[in-house]
């Protein structure tokens, strides 16, 4: 079935068309949700919430731009809303992150361009999910969604300066997480030898 046929079927609330559409966009949209969520379960909740919005508002799709981009925008907004609703929980998580004190005094000299060479996408996603929710959200919106700090500030209800600060901290923490993952992976490889 073509995309237009699927859309028309979803407008009619045809369950088969809905399932087909869900399967067609599941992989990419779940990848989006895994970047915003702290674990798989939370990502599944975000994805389900996002697709419900897609199916209930699909009649409003005006065929301007790609359908995938339209679905992606809904899923991203749903993920951000999910994080904002559970802000109190993430505040505690942020505190935990800060209390652990696992922040190096100096940035390690790492070849950033080749840092990800031996890591899988799932490991990179795990490194991203280990960021605090505030850092992770700004990172995803800036790096993955190509939003400017002004747009990020408006969407999250923060200042532009906070957005830039969070991004810098996210970068620092992400690099550290990736380095730790590499070390962990090397240690496992060493153990398995």
């Amino acid at each position: 079935m073509t995309e237009n046929e699927l859309i028309a079927g979803c407008v009619r609330q045809d369950r088969a068309c809905q399932e087909a559409l869900y399967k067609r966009f599941y992989g990419k949209m779940m990848g989006v949700c895994l970047r915003y969520a702290k674990n798989r379960d939370e990502a599944s909740d975000m994805l389900q919430e996002g697709f419900i919005k897609v199916f209930t508002s699909i009649r409003n799709y005006a065929s301007k731009g790609s359908f995938e981009g339209w679905v992606r925008r809904i899923v991203v907004n749903t993920a951000v809303d999910h994080l904002r609703r559970n802000k109190h929980e993430y505040m505690i998580v942020s505190t935990v992150y800060a209390r652990e004190g696992d922040v190096p005094d100096q940035a390690e000299e790492v070849d950033e361009e080749n840092l990800l060479g031996n890591l899988s996408e799932e490991e990179i996603l795990r490194a991203v999910s280990q960021l605090s929710p505030a850092y992770r959200t700004v990172f995803n919106l800036y790096v993955m969604e190509n939003m400017a700090h002004k747009e990020i500030a408006e969407q999250l209800g923060i200042s532009e300066g906070t957005s830039k600060s969070n991004l810098a901290k996210a970068r620092f923490q992400l690099k550290k997480n990736l380095v730790n993952l590499i070390k962990l992976a090397d240690g496992e490889r060493t153990l398995t030898r």
Binding site: Q13, Y22, I52, V143, M144, R171
Partner: protein, 265 residues
């Protein structure tokens, strides 16, 4: 690269390149949960019909409200016209006496015309104090009813004529004010300006002293005295007279003609 603002950040560019096209493996359990959620959603296909129902109900309610409003306005205007008609025509119930109550029925040929004791007001409505002596003989009840109806009609016609005359007088009058306002009948007496009063000021100016003021609003040093002689009404300036505050002096000044504020001695 899509996002140009990452061109100088190697780490961000590397993460973006690795994750932008990532697709998670499909998990059938997620669709099962999704399907259950969709089953619990309200059917959107029913919504348009419900919208139509709501629209139709809204239309019917609007029509009902409009109809009631029109009916209310019609009733109000009709009752208003009834009230106006009531001011023109006296209610027959108030004036007409029930004829049958005191009508003397005589079966035998009367030797002389009988005087009815019934006072039926057949005079104009403005003058209700004159009883009318009827010389008509008594008849059986059906004729009595017809007679009462005829008399009520006569009363109404006479009252209408009288009211019309009054109305003509009112229309010719320059001033019309209501003396009394009856809640049911409306204006029932109208004040008429006495023409003699109107004419007097024109033809017979009242002689007297008229005080004047200067441009600054102060009392002028002179006053205007008006008097009438054989040659007509004349006026001339005189020195401001001392105000006569005695009773005689006050009585010589017609009421309503006194000027106050300028009689400073």
């Amino acid at each position: 690269m899509e996002n140009g603002h990452l061109h100088d950040d190697k780490l961000f560019r590397a993460v973006h390149d690795r994750l932008s096209d990532y697709e998670a493996p499909y998990n059938g359990a997620d669709w099962d949960a999704m399907s259950r959620s969709l089953d619990n959603l309200p059917k959107t296909t029913r919504i348009p019909r419900m919208q139509w129902k709501f629209s139709l109900n809204s239309i019917l309610i609007g029509l009902a409200v409009a109809g009631l409003s029109v009916a209310g306005i019609a009733m109000a205007s009709h009752s208003g016209s009834d009230a106006h008609a009531a001011t023109q025509q006296p209610s027959p119930n108030n004036e007409a006496q029930p004829v049958s109550t005191s009508y003397q029925v005589s079966t035998s040929p009367p030797a002389q015309p009988q005087q009815n004791n019934v006072t039926v007001n057949s005079a104009p409505a403005a003058d209700m104090s004159q009883p009318v002596a009827s010389t008509e003989t008594s008849t059986p009840s059906t004729d009595n009813q017809q007679l009462s109806t005829d008399r009520m009609t006569d009363n109404t016609n006479n009252a209408t004529a009288a009211q019309q005359n009054t109305r003509r007088q009112k229309n010719n009058s320059k001033y019309r004010f209501a003396d009394q306002i009856d809640p049911k009948k409306g204006f029932i007496y109208n004040t008429q300006e006495d023409q003699s009063i109107q004419n007097r000021n024109i033809k017979d100016p009242i002689p007297g002293i008229y005080y004047d003021g200067d441009n600054n609003g102060n009392a002028a040093s002179t006053a205007i005295e008006v008097h009438k002689d054989s040659s007509g009404v004349k006026s001339h300036r005189v020195a401001r007279p001392v105000r006569d505050t005695t009773a005689a002096g006050k009585s010589s000044i017609p009421s309503g003609e006194e000027r106050t504020g300028f009689d400073q001695q």
